[in-house]
Subunit: 278 residues, 2 copies
């Protein structure tokens, strides 16, 4: 499996990916799942991929030469010359469909689902930053202020912390930290997600970035975050009052009067009477 997250903030974009792939549990390898496209001063784009590795590698390969023609006469659009991220994402969707046409039938014969999930975001001069999630059918959705992030792959373990922290106003370094904590929780509970991690941070209206880093388990910042988060989470956990069953001793009793007119009563037990010794 895989875990990737892409975040769109007012201040910029954050992308993070793991690099573990597996075909079953006894065939685990390292493949990096991020591609960065950059034409300084003009456009900056990042692609994250999850799903079947042969499909996502083919999509990445084809994307570089994929051309979209609106009409037979019109100039062919590529990710390098199109005027909007929406068009760039249409080109990516078309690349997915080309791989589908080439491979889906044979994959189906082999009992393999055509499964690819992509996060694609960036900025092209003349418009604001945009972030998309692209599905196996080549269709896609765009992130909005209400949901400023997308996840692909093993997304559930690391979702709660994103839900708690991220808003469009979050600053870039904080969002990068949040993505790394989300990844750390995922790696703690799921073996199919693993290091090294690729992290990219893009500042709005720069059309390039030098904030690109590969993070392994010896990385000093990641080690601090991993250890610190684990320890402090534990301290927070310990600092919260344990449940008190007798409500005489606490302001926050676990047992209290039912205020729902009897709907939420404690469960009745199914009982057998105690046997009396004769």
């Amino acid at each position: 499996m895989t875990y990737c997250v892409g975040i769109k903030l007012n201040a910029g974009l954050v992308f993070l990916s793991d690099s573990r792939t597996n075909a079953g549990v006894d065939n685990i390898s390292t493949y990096r799942k991020m591609i960065i496209y950059e034409k300084p001063g003009d456009r900056f784009m990042v692609l994250l991929s999850a799903g079947n590795l042969s499909i996502s590698q083919s999509v990445r390969e084809i994307l570089q030469v994929e051309q979209l023609k609106e009409t037979p006469e019109s100039e062919p659009l590529t990710i390098w010359n199109c005027n909007s991220m929406f068009d760039a994402c249409r080109i990516l969707g078309q690349a997915v469909r080309h791989v589908y046409q080439r491979d889906a039938q044979s994959l189906k014969h082999a009992g393999v689902e055509f499964n690819v999930n992509l996060i694609f975001g960036g900025q092209i001069r003349g418009e604001n930053m945009r972030l998309f999630q692209v599905y196996s059918a080549g269709n896609f959705i765009e992130a909005t202020a209400e949901t400023p992030y997308f996840q692909i792959g093993e997304y559930k373990y690391g979702k709660p912390v994103l839900d708690r922290v991220l808003t469009p106003e979050t600053d870039l370094d904080e969002a990068a930290k949040c993505a790394l904590v989300s990844m750390d929780s995922t790696m703690k509970s799921n073996l199919s997600v693993g290091p090294p991690l690729d992290l990219v941070v893009y500042e709005a209206n720069r059309y390039e970035t030098d904030k690109v880093v590969c993070i392994d388990m010896q990385n000093p910042y990641y080690r601090m975050l991993h250890t610190g988060w684990g320890q402090k989470l534990r301290e927070v956990f310990d600092s919260l009052e344990d449940p008190v069953w007798d409500d005489a001793h606490t302001d926050t009793p676990l047992r209290c009067e039912d205020t729902t007119g009897g709907r939420n009563k404690p469960l009745k037990k199914i009982t057998r009477p105690e046997e009396k010794l004769i």
Copy 2:
């Protein structure tokens, strides 16, 4: 969906279940997923269920009258007279198989999978506490000291906190708190898990309990936990240093020398040169 967790500690057992069921997103109802069986002084058992509601309700109904006969002559075993939790769990497995024989073919015709997942734990006088997870085929596994808990249903969101906190030495109130935090994270990120919650705490060698509570969103303890965990998690998050891209200013740089002989270098970008204005 559902989220249930059962925990076995040296000090006792903790069981927690939500009560949301859904058939699609437009048909959401409340069904409580815990059953408590108690014969004071002799045995105490709890059953948690996830999966297809018609199957789990049938299993619960049948379990009360299910009989296991080792040989045609032997006394029939029920959950009320068997001498071990292992036998009680075999009786539960047999109840699952009876429902399978009755319903699976018709469910298959309707395109519905025979899907039921159960957690079953407790203590029968004469042996230690035991905790089992039972699958759709009626087979089961038992919790051991290395993995002192089972989850069924939407288990991923709430798994990291269990992995961080629980050991067999954890005390009962702390484990109950941990289960509630795990449930809180799950409810925050997944609509298919919802209140009220049923919580039972059993102390070892008591063969009965009065620690049974139904927790709705007005419950003072749950509200304290929900608010406190969210706020303090945020404080911990804020207290951890943000990543610093320039390593002159920090002991824990995000960017550092590659110590892996070049394997974990930052990704190369795919670039196009900046266009020169003529």
